[in-house]
Structures are given as C-alpha cells and as structure tokens.
Amino acid sequence: EPHLNMLREAMGVMQHHDAITGTEKQHVANDYARMLNRAMRACGANTKVALNQIVDPKYKRSLRSGGGLPAEHPTPYPEYTFGFESCHLLNVSKCELTESKDSFTVTLYNPLAHAGHEYVRVPVSGGRYIVRDYRNVEVAAQLVPIPESVLNLSYRFSNATSELVFLANELPPLGFKSYFVTRAIDSLDDFLHESSPPVPVTSPKVDQARAKQQAAAQQWH
C-alpha cells in the first residue's frame, strides 16, 4: 500500500495544469520527473510481487534478485524480490539487462480487456538470438540496427547496437505471456571467441590448436 500511495500522490501532483502542459519552471519539471521515477520504481515492486505469485516457485528461486527500491520503502516481501525488471530507457533503445545477458525472458502483461499483440523491440548488443514461447515454438525474430543518430547521442551510455524485433501475439486479456530469448552461438569458434579473450597466434603449436578448433566448429555447425 505505501508503494501504491507514492504513485497515487505523484499522480495527484501531476493533475496541476503546469504539469499537464509543461509550463512549470525547469527545476519543478526536474522534481516532477524525480517524483514519478521514484513512484514508478516503488510500484515496480508490487508488479514484481504480483507476477511472482503466479509463476512457478522453482522459477522464482532460480532467478537472480533484483533491486532498485527506494531505500525508505523497502519491499515488505523480501522473499519475492526476483526478476521482472522494467527498462525505463527503452525510449533511447537501452536496456542494461537485455544488452548484457546471453539469456533472458521478456514478459508482456496485457492491460486491455481483450486479446492483443505487439511487435516487441529489445535492445541487444548484436549477434543472433533465438526467441521461444512457452510451448517451445521458435518465434520469428529480426535484428534491426539502431539508427546512427541514436547511437551517437552523447548522453546515451549503452552497448546496444541493434534491436531484436519479434511478434508477441495471442496476449491474453488482463494476462501475461513470456518469451525465452537466448543468444545463439553458431559455432564452437564463436563460443571460444565469446567466452575467452582472443588467443594471440604465436607458435605452430597454437596454429595447430586453432585449426583443430575450427574443424570442431565446422562439425558443430
């Protein structure tokens, strides 16, 4: 309830005509942004709890803990602070979690009272990704480069260079659907390249090892 109140109070303040139209002074605009951000983070804890109540307990345990709650309002449900993070910087094609992890899930909650669909755009750092739904059906996904003008924004600190686009369909009314996204490793060579720094080629022995790796990669592919 205290979390919800933070957003209720912020929304109360935002009814002011200056907040509606943007005619407030700059320092007031900054304060409004601060209030909303804080309130949204607090309510994020509640959505996390709600979603955690309907997922499998095993899954909850396996997910890494999340955070980001305002210090003055720690969650009253510490055992439920798992996963389900929001990315508030998707508007600049940035999401720390999706651009740094090789596996993650995307969950969509549909607030409408009828089924829906959405083309999801997830910022990623390149490569190839496999998207699967809960039935183990692979969903067609396309990697689209982020426009240069966005990449060049001086205050966008992100490793994402592309957006992964896929269709999330049959989203149940007032319900949710999750997708499992994995960064694909096409070959053993890619795997070695991904998991360790490049090995400098200095001796015939290393060359031989490299050739062996490539042969193995070929077979793997």
């Binding site: 139209t21 943007g22 005619t23 002074k25 700059q26 605009a29 959505t47 979603l51 095993k58 899954y59 396996s62 997910l63 890494r64 798992f82 996963g83 389900f84 993070e85 929001s86 990315c87 998707l90 508007n91 600049v92 999401c95 979690l97 999706t98 992890k101 596996s103 993650f104 899930t105 995307v106 969950t107 969509l108 909650y109 549909n110 607030p111 409408l112 829906g116 959405e118 083309y119 699967r132 809960y134 183990n136 067609a140 996904a141 396309q142 689209v144 480069p145 426009p147 240069e148 003008s149 966005v150 924004l153 001086s154 205050y155 686009v165 896929f166 269709l167 999330a168 989203l171 499992f180």
Partner: protein, 286 residues
C-alpha cells in the same frame, strides 16, 4: 538515386529520390502521402502589450517565417520478414525511422529531434507535416483527451465571427491522441504518443509540433525561457506517430474503428518486464 519502397501485404510506402516519403499504395491504388519536417521561428516581443509577447512556454507565436530543414534526406533501408524500415537523416539534429510491421496496416514514424540549435539567437518550433491529396475543405478533427473527436474548421469559430490575426497559431489545437482529416474518398489520421499541438493549415495537410526550444520568457508568469537542457546541451526528444491512411468507407470496420482499436493498443500498451535467467535452461524455465 532511386525510389525506395517498403511495405507488407496491406500497404507499400515509397520514398522519392530526394529521400522524402512520397506515396502510399493500398489495394493497387497509389495516393500522394508526403511527410517532412519544417520549423517556425519564435517571435520576439516586447512583453509589454498582451498582443506583443514572445513565443514561450504558454504562447506559440511564430515570427511569420516557416523554414524547411533540408532538400535532401539521407536514407538507409532495412528489410526483413518481420519489419521493414527506412532510416532518414534530415540534418544533424532531425532524424526519423519510418517502419511497416509485417502484420500491421498502419505506418509508424519514430522521430528524433534535438538538440535544436539556437546559436543564431532564434528560438525554433519543429513540426512534422503530412501532405495528402484529400480535399478536406478546411475541416479537420482533433481528439478531446482521447475520447470523442471535435470538428475544427480553419479560420473559423462556431460561436462568433473570427478574423484571425495569427493564422498559424490561431488554427492550432491540442492533440492528445489523434488528429484526422478526410474528403469523400480518402482519410488520414495521425495518432501521437504524447500531447502535442496540431493543425491543418492547408487542405489535405496535417501537422504536429514535436519539439520546441525558445530563448525568451513569454511574460505569463513562468519567468523562464523554454530552453531545456541535459548535460549542458539542448534536449533531444524522441517519439512516435502512427499514421492510418486509406479509402473512406462506410462498411465495417470503418477507418475510424480501426484507428480507435489502434489508439487503445498504443496508449494502453503492454507492460514489458525483463528477467535475467542466469544459467537456467529453457526446459527448466518452461
């Protein structure tokens, strides 16, 4: 150097050799649909008389000039089975992505404007403008806070005879969800993701103001110029417009109904959550 077309099973949109969106083809019929960005320069007033105040937070008052931003747009085209996109660069501070998803019958415009240069000492107010061949007769519609649409008539007020002194801002209306125009055959609707000012200053054309940076206070009490900055630079704004274009038809689903469903989806969007699954295998997650 050659025309570019992106599309899906519902529509195709083409870009001319200058890089501007130029036409749209639906059911084999091609219609004019041009989009560009222009900007108004903010008026500088003495702020002593009511009718002589600067363009500012409360007032939109162009100084009479309208500037085009470029004659040539740089393009990059991305085509795939899920989405087709054209990345447009208008100048150093205006760019846009025009995209068509495989299973959607609207066009998405993701615009990015800023930091607006003010080194010349002139405030600027940037608009995205769409041109069609519709003979709209001065009539257009804007929404009432996302609910019903209100009919607007250019240079006209319903309850008194008006002689507008300011032909641009006098025809501007608030647009919180949709602006539209039509004639007997065609209809154009533009949905926006945030409240903006909008108008139809000539038949067949719609415009929405996407960003503004002004250097003078308009003397309505805020006592600041609308000159937002982040990290010492002018603010960059990025947002979306969704364009629904097509033949005007009375049969279900009408274009208005399609727009309304799209509006629901865009303004009450799904909530996205991301979870790090760590070392969890798909089968265990499943």
């Amino acid at each position: 150097s050659e025309e570019v077309t992106i599309g899906n099973k519902y529509l195709n949109v083409s870009f001319d050799t200058s890089g501007f969106l130029s036409s749209i083809t639906i059911d084999g019929v091609t219609n004019r649909l041009r989009q560009t960005f222009v900007y108004y320069e903010g008026a500088l007033g003495n702020n002593e008389e009511f009718q002589n105040r600067s363009s500012g937070a409360y007032i939109f008052r162009p100084n009479g000039t309208e500037k085009t931003v470029t004659e040539n747009v740089q393009l990059k085209v991305v085509k795939g089975p899920t989405v087709q996109e054209v990345h447009q660069v208008f100048n150093e501070w205006i760019s846009q992505v025009v995209r068509v998803y495989a299973d959607e019958s609207h066009i998405e415009f993701e615009w990015m404007v800023g930091p607006i240069p003010v080194g010349d000492g002139v405030g600027k107010e940037i608009v995205s403008r769409f041109y069609t061949a519709a003979q709209s007769g001065g009539v257009f519609w804007t929404d009432a806070n996302g609910r019903e649409m209100i009919k607007r008539v250019r240079n006209h007020r319903d309850t008194w005879n008006v002689d507008l002194m300011e032909k641009i801002s006098g025809n501007y209306y608030p647009v919180t969800a949709k602006i539209a125009l039509e004639d007997e055959n065609l209809r154009l609707a533009v949905l926006n993701d945030r409240a903006q000012g909008g108008s139809s200053l000539e038949d067949g054309a719609l415009e929405l103001m996407v960003h503004r940076r002004l250097l003078h206070d308009d003397a309505f009490g805020v006592e600041e110029a609308l000159n937002e900055k982040a990290f010492g630079k002018g603010l960059v704004a990025r947002g979306k417009h969704w364009v629904v274009f097509g033949a005007k038809k009375p049969t279900s689903p009408t274009p208005e109904a399609r727009e309304r469903f799209l509006q629901n989806r865009m303004l009450l969007p799904n909530w996205l959550f991301f979870s790090d699954v760590g070392e969890v295998r798909y089968e265990d997650w499943q």
